[in-house]
Symmetry: C2
Subunit: 288 residues, 2 copies
């Protein structure tokens, strides 16, 4: 496994692979590190489909708001490298902030529409930062495939919209959310949770399961009613503070008045436990 800390080293290593493999396929997994099995599953998916697997670990300051957790975002390079290696990673890109932003960027990519609700509303500027850094990383790595977890469903929607609009030469591969046995979606931020918060945090996946069960027989059900049930379930956890709990069209992420005419919806949640903000979501098909 090659470790690259500069853009030049990384490009050199990828060029070398490309030039020595006629049918090279480069798979790319961009992350903020503190890797868990969810990241591992993205790397394994890339390993299955590509001749070269590139992982980036970069906590991108541009996508954090001034009162968010950029400084205290968990980092563990040594363990990350072990996870990367055991998942079959070929190259790890580990740049410092000054390598990615030698001067403050004057160029920003903005995606409208899919960013109006959810984290786009509650974290102003967040998706500009995501779109801009993902664009930089895609330009540096020039992968054939890039893998993203569906836990960040809105992030996937933003990146798919950007790739589509800007004709970026890459295929985005959304991958399923991985969960703990009790249902909690894997997240690097889970490490922040106290024991009691961790116990109560299963309310997110439980509320999504409620929503799925309700949608089995959607006759007479409205998006508002579905949302109310989800909200009520989350509020049953004493430490949970809802940032948002929304029922939107998918993949356009727009508010809907009814399920008529909709093909798929997303139930999307952001819930704070103390300082820790967790997100989760489920995409549901509307029964015919």
């Amino acid at each position: 496994m090659i470790i690259c800390r500069t853009i030049n080293e990384l490009r050199q290593a990828i060029r070398q692979h490309r030039s020595s493999h006629l049918d090279s396929k480069v798979g790319f997994v961009p992350t903020m590190g503190y890797l868990h099995r969810g990241h591992g599953s993205l790397l394994e998916r890339a390993r299955d489909n590509c001749s070269l697997v590139v992982l980036s670990i970069f906590v991108n300051p541009l996508q954090f708001g001034p009162n968010e957790d950029f400084e205290r975002y968990p980092r563990d390079e040594k363990r990350d490298l072990e996870v990367a290696q055991s998942a079959g990673t070929d190259i790890v890109f580990l740049p410092q902030v000054a390598e990615m932003y030698p001067t403050p960027t004057k160029t920003v990519i903005t995606v409208s529409g899919v960013t109006e609700r959810l984290c786009g509303a509650s974290r102003p500027g967040h998706f500009d930062g995501v779109a801009t850094v993902v664009s930089k990383l895609l330009n540096i790595v020039q992968p054939d495939f890039a893998y993203f977890g569906m836990k960040d469903a809105q992030q996937v929607a933003v990146i798919e919209q950007m790739v589509y609009d800007l004709n970026m030469p890459v295929t985005i591969v959304p991958c399923p959310t991985l969960r703990e046995e009790d249902g909690l979606a894997l997240s690097s931020r889970n490490v922040y949770l106290s024991d009691e918060e961790r116990r109560q945090a299963i309310v997110l996946s439980a509320a999504l399961a409620d929503a799925e069960a309700l949608m089995q027989d959607a006759a007479g059900l409205t998006p508002d009613r579905l949302q109310a049930v989800v909200v009520e379930r989350i509020q049953s956890a004493s430490l949970a503070h809802i940032d948002y709990a929304e029922v939107l069209s998918y993949p356009s992420l727009e508010p809907i008045d009814s399920f008529e005419g909709a093909d798929r919806i997303i139930v999307a949640l952001a819930v704070k436990f103390g300082k820790t903000r967790l997100i989760d979501n489920r995409i549901l098909h509307i029964p015919a």
Copy 2:
């Protein structure tokens, strides 16, 4: 010469070249058509340095304001193809608007700083449109080199900033402005000029020549004084209406109070003759 009207055709043609040439170098000249010798010189520069020369002709609606000349921008596909062929072009990309924007783009690239003055101030949204379409074209063509004329000096600054900030894998090659014998910078928009406007339009290059002469002995000269001389000269043409005439630092395009500490400046002009807006500029070194 291959003519491609769809993105897929174009990518296919370029892929074919890349796969059959070990040391392929793709040179790209993006234009809005109505080609003149200026465009020809960009194509010839690409021809000299690359194994494949790609020209795009696309009048990009995104970079025109609501009261600008998108609809009446001059078009002549037949003559353009002759110019392209005689300059040694290999592939011409001629997309319709619906091919480049099958749906209205939700993704926009914004470059700040270098866009604050000049055309960035007088044409709001213009450089967002330029940056976005150039990014799309670069993602479609994936050239090694892209060639731009320095008549649009601010456009070059915007694109160089974007390529730098987003780590785009391309080298931008700025090329000198070509001129008529009397000094008028070549522009597709010159065709709009009446005979009398055409005669008076030489005042732009004449004013820039004045500025250059004055800077030979810059002792006691200030940017304000230089600007005043340029303005006075342009106002000597009865049909000229100044949009802007500015003296800025180069390449940062910022206002300056004095020439001290400056290495290079740009004198940049936008002047209207009737409905026709002409631009020109000169980059001057500050004498030591």
